[in-house]
């Protein structure tokens, strides 16, 4: 079985919701859509207070090279365009919509038919992906169309679909692969065809044996799809690690996957691409897992963007008594939710309820030089040296020790027997070092 070589940890799976089918979450009465829901230049709001909108109508436009469009997931009236606090409590421009009914734009294909035949040309497909506001749904929300604008002198040799879902707890990729198999495989083929490659590679971790069997079964009716079974190890779903596992190529320090001829997209992105290209449907909803050790019934939902996070919690009878922390995303890389009064955005994959037993940080001890952090670092760094350097604000030394290679996977802090907050310090150091490098380059 394939996997990446360096480092990695094995946290408990806790994929409680992997058997529960995706449920469509009811529409809210009022929704709030942040204008910029991607990584890159901010989008421009193109609606005003009082405008009537339909589902699928463009409400914010990405003008810059790296930017993305946003479409209304609701029909109704724009209540206001205002600053609203996001997950971290930072105020951002948002469009507030009063939801009235569920009226869709005419050109969106709402039938359940599965359209296999790809009629558009590669450039038309990329244009469609751009127009429909597709971003990478693995978490980073990088505009998908930009990945396919391949720089001169580089050549794509591998189209990889990231289906590792290596984060514990999250089960949306798992459910999507079980329930929307054919569509996402068509999506994968579309991505493959953009690059005119013979094969698209899908990497799935071994702990999802049912998915692997099902995918292989359905893929029999397709040509040029290769399913790779990967040995379960965190962080397999990290781009560089996945490329290493499937192609044995290592993305050099400071370079991009395209530098080794690879383009990686998440399974959910592949599904969104299918919907955009074959059904003309923009990215207006997300698959979201609601789970946690103390959650009675972990669930997977299909949620429209802009739905209040609170409503998902309320639909499940409120937070459990022993809640310590709420996480957006997985327990290894997810963000703690600082502001509960906020809304679902593109790429939001999981509301994870961490109970006080697993969420309490242990008392910090002296480093005993056990070298476990060095052993588990998938980038081959030395967290035990980086963290103290960060405490001493020694950014120059941190740069020399390659802190910018850190992918913030959290394996070091997870594994540290002395419970040292390694990644807390390294993340700070990486930010400061990055700022220092940028300042130097602009001089």
């Amino acid at each position: 079985m394939k996997t990446f070589k360096l480092g990695g940890v094995h946290p408990d799976d806790n994929k409680f919701a992997h058997q529960s089918s995706i449920e469509v979450f009811p529409l809210p009465q009022q929704a709030v859509l942040f204008a910029t829901q991607h990584l890159g230049a901010p989008s421009t709001v193109v609606v005003e207070k009082g405008d009537k909108v339909k589902v699928g109508q463009l409400i914010a436009r990405g003008d810059a090279f790296i930017s993305a469009n946003l479409h209304s997931p609701y029909s109704g009236t724009v209540n206001k365009v205002d600053l609203v606090a996001d997950l971290s409590g930072i105020k951002k421009t948002a469009i507030v919509i009063d939801v009235e009914g569920d009226e869709w734009e005419q050109d969106i294909d709402l039938t359940a038919d599965i359209k296999r035949e790809i009629t558009l040309s590669p450039s038309q497909i990329v244009e469609k992906i751009k127009e429909k506001g597709i971003v990478g749904l693995g978490g980073a929300c990088f505009p998908t169309h930009v990945k396919f604008l391949i720089p001169q002198g580089k050549k794509a040799e591998y189209m990889i679909i990231n289906a590792a879902e290596c984060e514990p707890y999250i089960t949306i990729d798992h459910r999507v692969m079980m329930e929307r198999t054919e569509e996402l495989l068509i999506g994968a083929c579309i991505l493959r065809d953009i690059l005119s490659l013979p094969t698209v590679h899908i990497g799935v971790e071994h702990n999802k044996a049912d998915v692997i069997n099902h995918l292989k079964e359905v893929a029999k009716s397709f040509k040029g799809i290769k399913i790779h079974t990967l040995r379960t190890k965190y962080p397999q779903g990290a781009e560089k690690q996945l490329i290493k596992a499937i192609t044995k190529r290592e993305v050099p320090s400071g370079k991009l996957p395209i530098d080794v001829g690879c383009i990686v997209n998440n399974v959910n992105t592949a599904l969104a691409v299918y919907e955009a290209v074959q059904k003309n449907k923009p990215l207006i909803s997300n698959y979201v897992t609601y789970t946690g050790k103390s959650v009675k019934q972990p669930k997977n939902y299909l949620v429209r963007l802009g739905t209040p996070i609170q409503s998902i919690i309320e639909a499940n009878g409120g937070l459990p008594e022993d809640t310590e922390k709420l996480i957006s995303g997985g327990p290894m890389m997810g963000k703690a939710i600082a502001n509960l009064d906020t809304y679902i955005t593109k790429g939001f994959s999981c509301v994870l309820v961490i109970n006080n037993k697993e969420g309490k940080r242990a008392e910090i001890n002296h480093c005993i030089r056990c070298a476990k952090c060095v052993d588990v670092c998938p980038m081959g760094l030395e967290p035990y040296l980086l963290a103290p350097l960060s405490e001493k604000s020694n950014w120059e030394k941190m740069e020399k020790m390659h802190v910018m290679d850190c992918i913030e996977c959290g394996s070091c802090q997870y594994t540290c027997p002395a419970a040292r907050p390694l990644l807390d310090w390294i993340r700070l150091g990486k930010n400061k070092t990055g700022a220092m490098i940028r300042a130097r380059n602009t001089k």
């Binding site: 290592e250 922390k325 980038m379 081959g380």
Partner: protein, 336 residues
């Protein structure tokens, strides 16, 4: 409901802790301890108890009254130092010397540097070497173990016997041949089971190996240091033996004699005082192995494990600088 917490990822943590690691090592040391009690009787029990208690007590005293801070005696690290110190002493050593050894081990070698995690040298070995240099006669007088399985009726409390390595050292110095000497020494089977003179914890090879395997399975140690240590000692001793079999004993005898196994499995693998990267660990192990044999065959002491490990401990910062872990993305990309 209480306020929700907010902090950076990762939000989960492994079950491992410093305490768990330390107590795992203590458990791994138990077979060796039981064998030492069987071989050396009540003396061994008293010595081990005194050593462990004084190590823990010295740490507590220093933390409580000198540093006036938190006491961490329950983390098990002082217990390990106490056990390992006892395992490196002959059972006939006067009790007050054991206490001196414990004070040096914890007080000088560990707490002066800032306690667990900051000591450059293995505390138990510093304690042992201090005693060896200060009280050479008492430290090299070895009571014969009670050969309980082959001669159950013989009571040997009063007799003393040299260690196999000591016999060889003096024998060769007097011009005797290795093959002659080997006849007077314990056989391999006797060595494995511990039927020979020596310190408390170094005689029962099988018990040490069992403890080592337990630590390997629990991932408290990695294979690199023990394998490199024992392997390099074997290879180096084999070369010497091939060059002149008359004055150099067979390599396998080197491995089983003295404190080599105890050193390679329990002392050199000490996390705090060993290198961080896997290649660093291998270099460290090779250094320990080669130095051990050099001291054994060329030094004035018959045994060299403690000195070898301490010398390599001193080189650890240098090794950490020179042998970095393999970084991701430093391969040359194949042309595409």
């Amino acid at each position: 409901m209480a306020l929700l917490q907010f902090s950076g990822s990762p939000h989960i943590h492994t079950d491992e802790s410093v305490k768990k690691i330390m107590w795992t090592v203590v458990i791994a040391l138990i077979p060796t301890m039981i064998f030492s009690f069987l071989f050396f009787g009540i003396d061994a029990i008293v010595l081990t108890l005194v050593s462990v208690l004084s190590c823990v007590f010295v740490e507590w005293l220093i933390q409580k009254f000198l540093l006036k801070g938190k006491t961490t005696i329950l983390d098990g690290s002082a217990v390990i130092t106490g056990l390992l110190l006892a395992f490196n002493l002959p059972s006939s050593l006067p009790i007050w010397m054991v206490i001196v050894g414990a004070i040096v081990a914890i007080g000088v070698a560990k707490m002066t540097f800032g306690g667990l995690g900051n000591n450059p040298f293995n505390p138990a070995l510093v304690g042992r070497v201090f005693l060896l240099i200060s009280f050479p006669q008492q430290m090299t007088t070895w009571p014969k173990p009670h050969y309980w399985f082959t001669q159950p009726s013989v009571v040997t409390d009063a007799t003393t016997g040299a260690t196999p390595l000591g016999v060889i050292k003096t024998g060769i110095a007097q011009g005797q041949d290795v093959s002659q000497l080997m006849d007077t020494l314990p056989t391999y089977v006797q060595m494995l089971l511990g039927e020979r003179g020596g310190s408390l914890g170094e005689v029962a090879a099988l018990a040490i190996i069992a403890g080592g395997l337990f630590m390997l399975i629990r991932k408290v140690i990695s294979w690199h240091i023990p394998v490199a240590f024992i392997g390099s000692a074997f290879v180096f001793a084999a070369i010497l033996h091939l060059v002149n079999a008359n004055i150099y004993i067979p390599p396998s005898y080197h491995i089983l004699s003295g404190g080599l196994l105890l050193g390679a499995i329990f002392m050199a693998t000490d996390m705090v005082t060993s290198p961080m990267s896997n290649w660093g660990k291998i270099i460290f192990g090779i250094g320990c192995g080669v130095l051990t044999i050099i001291i054994r065959v060329a030094g004035s002491y018959p045994e060299g494990v403690s000195f070898a490990i301490l010398i390599m401990n001193a080189l650890v910062p240098l090794i950490n600088k020179g042998f970095k872990p393999k970084r991701f993305g430093t391969h040359k990309i194949k042309s595409i």
